[in-house]
C-alpha cells in the first residue's frame, strides 16, 4: 500500500514532488507554531475581536499588557526568576565542575563508588523525594524564601556527569604543564580546563537555567508569598486563578512575557543545547 502510493508520487515531475513535500512540511510547522501565534495574536487583540477566529488583529492594542502590569507584580516575578535561577545555574557550574574534575582527574579511594552513586541518583524519580524535601524545607524555615528555591538545586548530578565525561577528554599534557608551573587544582580547573569546556558549560548552564525557569511544581509547593513567586509560578496562578477575571487577552499577554526569555535563550544557544540533547540521548 505504502509502496504503491510512493511509486505513484515518484512518477510525478520533480518540482511537483518538491512542492508537495514543502507544502506538507510547512503545514506541519505552522500547526506546531499555531499555539504561539494564537498567544501573540490574542495578547494584542481588542475587546471586540477577542473571540474572533482571525489571527491578524484589526485594531492591535497593548491594553492587555497594561492590565497584566497593574494586576500582578510581574516585574518582581521576573526579577525573582532571574535571580534564583541565575544563582542556581552559577552554583551548578562551579560546584558540579569541581566534583566532575575530581572524578575525572584526581585519583582517590572511593572515586568509582561516588561516581556510581551519582549515576544511581540520576535514576531516582523526583516524585519520590517531593514530599520529604518539602518537609525538610519547612523545617529549615525556608518556605517563602529564596533559599528554598535555590539550595535544593545547587548541585546537579546531571552536571557532574556531563563535566566528568568531558574532562576525561582533556589531554594530560596540558594539566601536567600547568602543574609544573605550580598551578593548584582549582587554578587548573578554572584557568586551563574551563576555557576548553565552553560548549559543555553552556549546555549544562542552559539546561539548568531552563529547567528551573520553566518549573511550576516546586515553587508552587514552597512559596505562597507573592513576593517570592517565580515568573512561571505567578503567571500560571494568574491564568488559572481568579485574578485574571476571565480576561483571555491579559492571560495570553502574561504567558508571552513568561515564555519569551526562554525562547531567546534557546535561539541564542541553540547549537550547544541541541548537541547536549543529542549526547545525553545517545549515551542514554
Amino acid at each position: 500500500m505504502h509502496d504503491r502510493l510512493a511509486r505513484r508520487i515518484e512518477g510525478w515531475p520533480a518540482h511537483a514532488r518538491r512542492a508537495l513535500f514543502y507544502g506538507l512540511l510547512l503545514a506541519a510547522a505552522l500547526t506546531f507554531l499555531f499555539p504561539f501565534l494564537f498567544m501573540v495574536s490574542t495578547s494584542v487583540k481588542g475587546a471586540r475581536e477577542l473571540y474572533s477566529m482571525n489571527l491578524i488583529p484589526q485594531e492591535p492594542t497593548l491594553d492587555h499588557y497594561r492590565a497584566v502590569f497593574t494586576q500582578i507584580p510581574i516585574g518582581r516575578a521576573l526579577f525573582n526568576s532571574a535571580l534564583v535561577y541565575g544563582l542556581q545555574t552559577l552554583s551548578v557550574l562551579v560546584l558540579s565542575s569541581i566534583v566532575g574534575y575530581a572524578l575525572a582527574r584526581l585519583r582517590f579511594f572511593g572515586r568509582e563508588f561516588v561516581f556510581n552513586v551519582i549515576l544511581l541518583t540520576m535514576m531516582i524519580p523526583g516524585q519520590l523525594l517531593l514530599i520529604p524535601l518539602y518537609i525538610l524545607i519547612v523545617r529549615f524555615g525556608w518556605t517563602d524564601s529564596y533559599q528554598g528555591l535555590i539550595v535544593p538545586g545547587m548541585v546537579s548530578a546531571f552536571g557532574i556527569f556531563m563535566f566528568r565525561q568531558h574532562f576525561l577528554t582533556i589531554p594530560q599534557e596540558l594539566i601536567d604543564a600547568a602543574r609544573v608551573d605550580g598551578a593548584s587544582d582549582l587554578t587548573i580547573l578554572f584557568r586551563v580546563i574551563w576555557p576548553l569546556s565552553v560548549p559543555v558549560l553552556i549546555t549544562v548552564g542552559v539546561f539548568t537555567f531552563m529547567g528551573g525557569w520553566n518549573d511550576f511544581l516546586w515553587p508552587a509547593i514552597v512559596n505562597r508569598d507573592i513576593a517570592y513567586q517565580t515568573l512561571t509560578q505567578m503567571v500560571t496562578l494568574y491564568g488559572i486563578g481568579g485574578q485574571a477575571g476571565g480576561q483571555v487577552g491579559a492571560v495570553m499577554a502574561s504567558t508571552l512575557i513568561a515564555v519569551l526569555p526562554m525562547i531567546v535563550v534557546y535561539l541564542v544557544f541553540q547549537r550547544y543545547y541541541l548537541q547536549g540533547i543529542a549526547s545525553t540521548g545517545v549515551k542514554g
Binding site: D3, D185, I221, G239, T255
Partner: protein, 309 residues
C-alpha cells in the same frame, strides 16, 4: 596525572602513613573536591530518601503534632483507593495515546530534517519551540484552544463539525492532554532520533542503493533497525514522562471532568497539599517510583529482544 602525583609524594614515609596513602589513593584533594556533592547528597538526596520511607509508615499530617506509626496501613489504603486506581488507569490511557503518536511523529520529522532541506533552521525551531517553553504556561494557551468555545471548535465549526468537549467530555479529555503533551515534547524525541540517524554510516545506504533497494526498503531494513537504541530510549523516556504527568491536568482540568484526567502525581499533590496527608502522599510517591522502575525495566528487556528485528 599519576606521574605528577607520584612525583609529588615523598619517599620513605613511615609504614602506617604509606598504608593510609595507599587506601586514600594518591590525591587527597579528591576528597575535598567531592565534598560539595557528598554534603548535598546527604542532605537533599539520602536523607529525603530515607525520610520518604519513614513517612510511608506513619500517619503524618503536617499541622498535627501526633504522628502515629501505622505500619503498612498507608499501602493497604492505597490498594483500596478507587481514585488511585482511576489515576493509574488514566495514566494507561495517556500512554496508549502518547507513545505511538510521539514515536510516529518524531520519527517522521527526524527523517525529514535529516535530508537536504531548505530553511531547515526554521523547521527545527518550529518543532522544537514547544519543548523549551514551560509546560504550565503553555497549558494556559491550550486551555483556551481546547475550550468549548475555543479556537479548535471554531475551526471545526467551519466544516460543520463539533463542537467537541476536548476538556469537558470525560471520554475525550485524557486524549486531548496526551495530544498536547506530544506536541510539547516531540522536539526532544525528534532530536534523539536525529542524532541516531546521523550516526548511521552512509555506506550502508550506498551499498543498498547499488543493490537496487527502494527508498522504503532502505528505511525498513537499514534505518529502522539502526534506530533501535534510540527507539528504546524514546519509549522509556516518554513512559517516565507519562507517569510524571502533572502540570497539564493541574492547569487545564484540575483532574476532571469526573476524575478522567486525574494523574498519579496530581493525586499525590492533592493528598499532600489539599488534605495535608504527607504519609499517604509519600506512599503514593514510593509506589509511583517502584512502578516507573519496573515498567522501564520490563520495557528495556522486552524491547531489546522484540524490536531487535
Amino acid at each position: 596525572m599519576a606521574r605528577a602525583d607520584l612525583a609529588a609524594s615523598p619517599r620513605g614515609a613511615p609504614g602506617i602513613v604509606r598504608a593510609w596513602r595507599g587506601l586514600r589513593g594518591p590525591n587527597p584533594i579528591g576528597y575535598l573536591f567531592t565534598l560539595p556533592y557528598v554534603l548535598f547528597f546527604a542532605v537533599f538526596t539520602a536523607y529525603p530518601l530515607g525520610f520518604a520511607f519513614y513517612l510511608t509508615v506513619h500517619d503524618w499530617n503536617i499541622v498535627r503534632d501526633v504522628r502515629p506509626f501505622v505500619g503498612a496501613r498507608n499501602f493497604e489504603r492505597l490498594l483500596g483507593d478507587e481514585l488511585f486506581w482511576k489515576a493509574l488507569a488514566n495514566t494507561g490511557v495517556f500512554l496508549v495515546v502518547h507513545i505511538p503518536l510521539q514515536i510516529v511523529i518524531a520519527l517522521l520529522l527526524s527523517v525529514i530534517l535529516n535530508q537536504q532541506l531548505r530553511a531547515r533552521a526554521f523547521f527545527r525551531v518550529a518543532f522544537f519551540l514547544p519543548f523549551v517553553t514551560s509546560g504550565a504556561i503553555i497549558s494556559l494557551v491550550w486551555l483556551r484552544l481546547y475550550a468549548d468555545d475555543g479556537m479548535l471548535n471554531m475551526y471545526l465549526g467551519l466544516f460543520g463539525l463539533g463542537p467537541v468537549g476536548w476538556l469537558s467530555d470525560p471520554r475525550v479529555a485524557m486524549t486531548s492532554i496526551a495530544v498536547m503533551a506530544t506536541w510539547k515534547n516531540v522536539g526532544y524525541y525528534l532530536m534523539i532520533f536525529l542524532a541516531a540517524l546521523q550516526a548511521i554510516p552512509e555506506q550502508l545506504y550506498e551499498e543498498a542503493y547499488l543493490n537496487g533497494a527502494t527508498a522504503w526498503q532502505r528505511f525498513a531494513h537499514i534505518t529502522f533497525p539502526m534506530l533501535n537504541p534510540a527507539f528504546i530510549l524514546v519509549v522509556i523516556l516518554s513512559t517516565i514522562g507519562g507517569f510524571s504527568l502533572f502540570v497539564e491536568p493541574f492547569v487545564m482540568t484540575g483532574g476532571g471532568p469526573l476524575d478522567a484526567t486525574l494523574s498519579l502525581v496530581l493525586y499525590l499533590y492533592q493528598q499532600a497539599f489539599q488534605f495535608l496527608r504527607m504519609g499517604y502522599a509519600a506512599a503514593i510517591g514510593v509506589v509511583l517510583a517502584l512502578m516507573i522502575f519496573l515498567v522501564t525495566l520490563i520495557q528495556r528487556k522486552y524491547l531489546e529482544r522484540e524490536v531487535g528485528l
